[in-house]
């Protein structure tokens, strides 16, 4: 199988007026179709930098990023990006917010519009189309953001800590919703998170990054029984705690270095 994402020896340097600093160095990573991969690591390990490179928002200083067999040169509709918060436009209705991607890629037509309508319904947002973001709760807004990302039908989703601004209950519900939705549609996903248990519960593979500069430290495959169930129940599966402690111990060791 051709991998959806292939990072070859990615190195990125951030240049400011004061200095040029190495953010990530020598990142090699490939993600298979339909795979759900999580990037975890201490802050400053360049998780978001790696996502930005894959999304085409950032040109890496060295190395190549290949998505769907083509070298990344800029943002493309094949890659969807979900941010830390919903970042819905407050002046647009929910429907118009969900349609923004189609508008920008000039694919807005009656068909795609009705597809977004049914997508909203699927996410439990039926009837909220004419409302404004301020009238919705945080969890609902993040679900609208998910619809906005899915509307352009990207094969690859980049999730940049999409649950970090939500309360615990909403976060657990959304984890299930996202994993189910992506699995149903056969999407590939890369999740950046601070939350180790979230990473294990949601993904097929957990990539632990080291910091200063960001490097891949170790990869952990999530056992089949944990992957098979919804994230909420995954936390109760045998082997979950052992994996958690293994990765946790490894993270502690990195922190002391």
């Amino acid at each position: 199988m051709v991998p959806v994402v292939e990072l070859n020896d990615i190195t990125h340097v951030y240049v400011t007026d004061r200095e040029a600093s190495l953010a990530v160095e020598g990142i090699d990573l490939s993600v298979e179709p339909g795979e759900f991969v999580s990037l975890v690591g201490p802050s400053g390990c360049g998780k978001t930098t790696i996502l930005s490179v894959i999304a085409g928002l950032l040109q890496p200083t060295k190395g190549t990023a290949i998505v769907n067999g083509k070298q990344v040169s800029g943002p493309s509709p094949e890659v969807g990006y979900m941010l830390q918060q919903d970042y819905l436009f407050p002046w647009r209705t929910i429907m118009d917010n969900a349609l923004i991607g189609l508008e920008l890629t000039e694919r807005l037509n009656p068909d795609s519009r009705s597809e977004v309508q049914s997508l909203l319904k699927e996410m439990g947002l039926a009837g909220s189309g004419p409302l404004y973001p301020a009238q919705l709760s945080g969890g609902m807004r993040q679900r609208v953001a998910l619809v906005r990302t899915l509307a352009t039908d990207p094969g690859l989703l980049l999730l940049d800590e999409p649950f970090s601004a939500l309360d615990y209950q909403t976060k657990l519900q959304l984890e299930d919703l996202i994993v189910e939705t992506l699995r149903e549609r056969g999407k590939t996903a890369i999740l950046v998170t601070h939350d180790l248990s979230e990473a294990i519960a949601m993904s097929d593979r957990v990539v632990l990054l080291n910091r200063n500069p960001g490097r891949i430290h170790r990869m952990f495959a999530v056992p089949e029984n944990i992957r098979a169930v919804q994230p909420f129940y995954a936390r109760k599966e045998p082997g979950f705690n052992e994996l958690f402690h293994e990765i946790w111990g490894e993270m502690q060791r990195i922190g002391k270095e």
């Binding site: 928002l57 890659v79 970042y87 002046w91 923004i100 991607g101 920008l104 890629t105």
Partner: protein, 279 residues
Amino acid sequence: MTTNRERKEPASSSNRWLQDIYDKHRRKKRSIQSRVLTVQLSLLLLFFAWWEAAGRMKWIDVLLFSYPTKIFSNIWDNIVTGELWGHLGITVGETVVGFLLGTLVGTLLAVIIWWSPFLNKVLDPYMVVFNSMPKVALGPIFIVMFGAGFTAIVVTTLSITVIVTTLVVYNSFNEVDSNLIKVVRTFGGTKRQVFQRVILPASYPAIVSTLKVNVGMAWVGVIVGEFLVAKSGLGYLIMYGFQVFNFTLVLSSLLIIAVVATAMYQIVVYIERKLLAHR
């Protein structure tokens, strides 16, 4: 007994209880509002009454300070003879054109320097210098350039409003949450799309609020312009009244300016509320 009733109809009784508290709150609020209004109106009446009395009893120099009934009858005469409308129309016309054009040109300039950060850096010191200069001093030059009339007065107004508008609007362009821009960029949006879909709509409140500031500024520009050019308009009436020592005319014009400027400001506030209803 009360517990008995509560047990029978708990919902409606608790509703009534909440309603009572809410009603009390509303009554209290309304009584404060009416007291404020009463004091405001009494102050105004008291001021006019004192002014009238002081004028008629010759406590103050009537030639300089006139008094209300004299001013109102002067305004009334001007309305009846129709002389007022011409002056009022010209001044209001200049002000409206001045503040709309000022906001428009200022916003366009902000768009240009947002589009080209290089041009922004180049123009920055010039804008700072021009902004700190008392623009009214340029009035005579505008009169020579555009002739003594409408154009020179509008240009004087623009010289006051444009740069401030540019600075405020440009600032609001820069304060737009970069994550909203990122949303558009992740869909492959161009710079033009970023501007149209994010920067401009996010800055509407700032642009409308410069409209509010510019109403006041435009009045300054127009009246000063009319002082200098002096052929017609309320500024001209003030200047003329001053030259022939008719201070009743000066004060009448001032009163009309105060009323019309307030009305104009309220219209802009109304438009703002309509435009930004959803934010």
